[in-house]
Symmetry: C2
Subunit: 452 residues, 2 copies
């Protein structure tokens, strides 16, 4: 590990900070204080947090340091600061779901994923800004690369806090594009695991067939570190199956058995991709294909995928109508127009139509299985382009819908940027329930690009 200045310990990767703490070069308290110094400096312009409690966080860090001094066994995230999206229940902080209708809401228990983070020794720094009920209407957060641009949503604060080095790690959720999109716009790594691999017990229910928790970090190893902690079976979440945890960090460190091959999938949304995205992908694919044996093919999805956006919309909106019925009845006036419209459309989706659209998930997923018989991973844009200007909207999730609907694992690799220096990502999609291989493939791809 290279030397570092303790006052800028917030810039360390999670893995490096963990190592420095292990070796006694850094205390958790010093790390937390460095993160708070960064937050103090930038929060006014970035607005990543809804709830912070410096005293509580430092208290947790002191206890972590004390455990280490006493020689107690420490977990994978021992002493590492983390931000939690404000739709995920925490017993130490309010969880207000991004709407005044839940102002002051204080859960009595941690969500399962928070309890796993705590068991692993993470320091919960506070709650990060979400859009209204994790749908579209933005919170106060701005893009750390340019405050006039959106950070993306709905996990706006979690992405911006990691991108601006306020914390090394954070947690978000995705029902359409809410992890991969803000990761792309903020220029960081984001991971939406296979559907059903992170517990949603204690997480706002938006659409049960779609809701997926995910994680953010500034490097792939960091993403694996936190993913291994939270990807545990929980009987409280009906969508989960009792299968062994994926051990991403160790699989990722293994050499690939053979050079992976990629399907470049433009998706029916390709006409929404900006020119800078099209150029970026062309250069990326040429570069990889020139340097290696042919490893990237263009693969076009069957025509039926044209309908997937409509199926996703029906499922999501019908579920919004169902799950936010209380909010709609009690406080429609306090809800955004965009959410009210979605709820009202959702109210009109019959059970028959809802069930029919849910049933298509398996059909679309079967089509993807055919791709994964031939290819290790799919390359596709993470967003149509870099973060759009303006803070009134969070950008288009159209590049994420297919992968959320099919429940395939997806990574944002923050390797592209436009001429103004605004970042945007390459999305790497893997076979469902083989999250660890997706990381290993991503590692190979990044190494290959570095070798060019």
């Amino acid at each position: 590990m290279s030397k570092f200045d303790i006052s800028t310990a917030n810039l360390l990767s999670a893995c490096d900070a963990r190592k420095a703490i292990d070796e006694g070069l850094l205390s958790s308290q010093e790390l937390v204080e460095a993160c708070f110094a960064r937050i103090d400096a930038l929060e006014d312009s970035i607005g990543a947090w809804t709830h912070l409690d410096k005293e509580l966080a430092i208290q947790q860090a002191r206890e972590a340091d004390e455990s280490r001094r006493r020689g107690l066994r420490v977990g994978a995230l021992h002493g590492l600061p983390i931000g939690i999206k404000d739709i995920i229940d925490t017993q130490d902080y309010p969880t207000e779901l991004g709407t005044v209708l839940h102002q002051g809401r204080k859960p009595s228990k941690d969500a399962t994923l928070v309890s796993l983070l705590k068991e692993a020794g993470a320091i919960i720094m506070g709650k990060t800004v979400t859009t209204e009920l994790a749908v579209f209407s933005p919170g106060k957060t701005t893009n750390p690369h340019n405050n006039a641009h959106t950070p993306g949503g709905s996990s706006s604060g979690s992405a911006a806090a990691v991108a601006s080095a306020m914390v090394p790690l954070s947690v978000g959720t995705q029902t359409n594009g809410s992890v991969i999109r803000p990761a792309s716009f903020c220029g960081i790594y984001g991971f939406k695991p296979s559907f059903g691999r992170i517990s949603r017990h204690g997480v706002l229910r938006q659409s049960p067939p779609l809701d997926t928790a995910g994680v953010f970090a500034r490097g792939l190893e960091d993403l694996a570190l936190i993913a291994d902690v939270v990807m545990r079976y929980d009987a409280q979440d009906d969508a989960m199956l009792p299968i062994a945890p994926p051990c991403i960090s160790s699989v990722m460190a293994e050499p690939v058995p053979t050079n992976p091959v990629f399907a470049f999938v433009r998706t029916p949304a390709w006409d929404k991709a900006e020119q800078v995205t099209k150029d970026g992908f062309r250069e990326l694919i040429e570069a990889v294909n020139e340097s290696k044996a042919k490893t990237i093919d263009i693969f076009d999805l069957p025509a039926q995928f044209d309908n997937i956006y409509e199926d996703h919309r029906k499922v999501m909106e019908a579920d919004l109508a169902r799950n936010f019925a209380e909010e709609y009845t009690r406080g429609k006036a306090e809800l955004s127009d965009v959410l009210c419209s979605m709820i009202e459309r959702g109210q009109k989706v019959t059970d028959e139509k809802y069930n029919a659209s849910v049933a298509t998930i398996a059909d679309y997923a079967d089509c993807l299985d055919e791709i994964f018989e031939l290819y290790d991973a799919i390359l596709t844009p993470a967003t149509p382009g870099p973060a759009p200007k303006g803070l009134q909207a969070t950008g288009d999730p159209v590049m994420n819908t297919i992968w959320t609907f099919c429940g395939t694992p997806a990574l944002n690799l923050p390797i592209l940027q436009n001429e103004d220096g605004l970042p945007f990502g390459v999305q790497l999609v893997g076979e469902k329930d083989d999250d660890a291989r997706l990381f290993r493939t991503a590692r190979w791809l990044l190494d290959s690009l570095n070798d060019l």
Copy 2:
């Protein structure tokens, strides 16, 4: 690993069976079928089970074998059959709590500890006999070493099933002596962890300051294997703290830093120890002390420990009155006299007295801390002697009360027997929350005895 006959695979240790499955020498289905053959042969005389579902268990085993064939990641207990005490909720089997008052009770969710076992790949074979509401009144189970003797309770079926090689592993609970006592009487290894280290979410609530889940196996490595799976933080259990899992298996494999020293603690209950127990301990201590540098001292507990049985009784009985009020009101006639008497005494314990007794837990535990400043572990009887004759009672938990009340981890080492060949145990007690060191110390002690 030595060769084995697949038809007697039920005799393998959990670790050996796991290894054989890993190496493709044995399938989970073959193992489950061997266990069922053993159950078919012995269940009529031993009566360890309340619910069995051969078809479901074999189906689970087939799925486990299929996962392995497909190269999926497998957990620490992949394909291993396990028995679950019938006060621990399972969604696949009824959970009837040992009383007709709950006949047909069918939980909708697995207890957290069951979900952890499933995640690790264990095959849930069925539910094992508990005494009535996990208190004293026995079920149908007999002692596998002599059917005229009690197996101990309340985790009677879990201990008997492992002792008779129907399954390699099982789970029980202890509120007074319900893990260590049946382990001692049945001649197997038993482990009651530190208080608050296995989730009780989904486990019958008897006395919250005392209830502790525990595990059974026929060897110490097997006990460590399952303990590492179930000792995970769960925010659903208020008694738990988010600390890192102990990693017992790996710590146990480390050499001891220095030869451990033991306190032989006779406890105020020593006059209840049978002569065979007193003789056994004298020989054990002489043998160890002669072979090694002096490693065992006699240590007498301070006089205040004379009161601990009464404090424990007040807490437990008051909690029985509270937590079984519904059963008592609805079906007193169906409850045993012994339980009714306990409930009625418990009803008379005032809140003031209850709180005062609960408050003594910390005082007693502080006294034990002084022992653990000088000694690595406490040696003490697991039971007054071998299993008493008769099936109307489950034996005296008096040797277990102190360690349950103080929340210290305790192991039964099945290394003694009387002249009729009936086994009984040495109880090894460690410092609270250092469960892994207790196992390492136990490993050292067993190795030392083998070297004699």
